[in-house]
């Protein structure tokens, strides 16, 4: 299993998927940093120019805007992580079968379960490291250049949020391996991108339904979250990040969850990943190569 994990790890590195993604990520962080810097400078100027009596209220408003800016940064990060995970893993089994690269490997003394688990761990570990790097970079930029727009974050909330955010790749890798073990690379890619998009739209719809008190919209959002909980995990992370800060994040924002944070959400995600993986193992073990 560890040999396959190592091979998956190397595959992402050597095929230059990861180095290119890293360069683009750094470019994005730089851009985000510049935008934050100028937004902070402009906010600071506004604060200096207003009546001192209104300063406290204005500061509070800026904190909320800052948290929105942070959420936007993380939202796009989440999107990039999702796409990178899909692109890196979608052909991990189907592509190998199509190219016959898997043939000499599966005739070695390893079970197909080991192959799938190795793929899951190899991709999972690397993408988790990448996700945490991305997450901390956005937080760092907000803290360093945020000025009056700096979100009110505690270390424990960053830790909790970071840990939940680190689970995002696993939510995608499990179904990617499952679909990759039953359909071709291209079809697997289509299914995953549609599911991922559905999850995002579902999240918006749920939040909109919550604001408008529309049960039908909320239910649509819940169903999409159950089918593919990637977006739900992001919202849960955002809620954890806000925690019990003095300047709570804007509850009407499309980036947050409609309900209160629930550990049940994480349990659902863990069960979801496990079940999809087991299904993948079962399908992969029975199929012809």
């Amino acid at each position: 299993m560890w040999t396959i994990a190592k091979l998956s790890f190397k595959e992402i590195l050597y095929k230059r998927i990861f180095p290119i993604a890293l360069i683009m990520t750094l470019a994005y962080i730089l851009l985000y940093g510049i935008a934050t810097h100028y937004a902070a400078a402009s906010s600071l100027q506004s604060l200096n120019e207003i009546d001192p009596a209104q300063k406290a209220a204005m500061s509070m408003q800026f904190k909320i805007v800052g948290s929105q800016l942070l959420s936007m940064g993380l939202y796009f990060a989440n999107f990039i992580i999702g796409l990178l995970t899909i692109l890196a893993t979608v052909g991990s089994i189907a592509g190998n079968i199509e190219s016959h690269q898997i043939d000499p490997v599966l005739t070695r003394p390893i079970r197909r379960l080991d192959f799938l688990a190795g793929r899951f761990l190899g991709y999972g570990i690397l993408l988790t490291v990448y996700t945490l790097f991305f997450f901390l970079s956005i937080i760092f930029v907000n803290c360093l250049f945020g000025g009056p727009l700096q979100a009110d974050l505690s270390a424990i909330n960053i830790l909790k949020g970071g840990l939940v955010f680190a689970c995002v790749p696993f939510i995608i890798i499990a179904p990617a391996l499952f679909f990759s073990s039953i359909v071709s690379t291209i079809n697997s890619g289509i299914i995953l991108i549609v599911l991922y998009g559905m999850s995002f739209i579902g999240g918006f719809v749920e939040q909109l339904g919550s604001i408008l008190h529309n049960a039908a919209l909320v239910n649509i959002g819940i169903i999409s979250s159950l089918l593919f909980p990637a977006d739900n995990l992001f919202r849960y992370m955002n809620t954890l990040l806000a925690g019990s800060s003095a300047t709570p994040f804007d509850p009407t924002s499309v980036f947050y969850g409609s309900g209160s944070p629930s550990a049940l959400m994480l349990v659902y995600c863990a069960v979801y990943v496990l079940l999809i993986l087991l299904l993948g193992v079962r399908t992969f073990a029975r199929r012809d190569i």
């Binding site: 040999t3 091979l7 595959e11 690269q101 000499p104 070695r108 003394p109 012809d288 190569i289």
Partner: protein
Amino acid sequence: MTDLAIQTEALSKQYNGKGGCQNITLQVPKGVVYGFIGPNGAGKSTFVRTLLGLLKPTGGKAELLGKPLGDLEARRRIGYLPELFRYPDWLTGLQLLHTHADLLGLKSSLRPQHFTTLLEKVGLNGREKEKIAKYSKGMQQRIGLACALLGDPELIFLDEPTSALDPLGRMEVRSLLARLKQEGRTVFLNSHLLQEIETVCDQVAIIDQGKLITQGDWRKLCRFQNRYKLIASGLGREVLSGLPYVIHAELCQKFEPEAGTALKAEWQIEVENAEELPSLVRTLSDHGIGVYELTPLEPHLEEIFLYWMNRKEPEDVDHR
């Protein structure tokens, strides 16, 4: 402990009841180079892939090295070079060997010596640090061969092992096969190249349309075992057809008579039983026919293959 490296009993792999291979019952003894031949689409690769666990059988059973299909311990002692050899091209040849050595659980301390020997065997010494992406097709087949031989397997499946090699490479593989045979390893050789099989294999199985046609020592698989080249003078078809021993006779060529010599001709004859040859020569002599040469003709695998391919019904297969 079984003396068979491969044993199958009515092994089938079909797709919706069609194609693939059907009811293949085969016994491959240990320590032989066994040829598996058949036309394109006969089901050869399907059979091999089923044995190796890449395809799930739809019927029958099989054992490799005395263990049921899929047994991990048996797989540790098996090597495989696929027909469509493709390896991660972002690895170097050496990294590929390390990856497969990891999968086999080979000790790190044993690897350098083992790898050097293997790379020498397949003619890739000095090229192992290059990326596989830079290898030619022949070199990729060679590194695949090295992978198949990793860990000194007892049973090696080679699916068209020389398809991408030049004549020199083919010769090297042939001598490698001979060496493997000397070392007591069993090689299951799947190939279209009958000359290659003829050179290195003692036993073959012929498969067509997914069914086993025949198997055994290929020299004994033909009906025309007792064939001889006969050079004689004064011999005509009427004489040969009158002889009870000769079941088939064919005039091959007539030789231009030199001054003072008789008109000679070369015939190819087939007799029922080799024991009848002295009587045949005596009878010909009694008829005043001069016998200059009577030489046994060795059958060629190609003839045997064509013979079995042209038969409409598969014969009872000798399962011994």
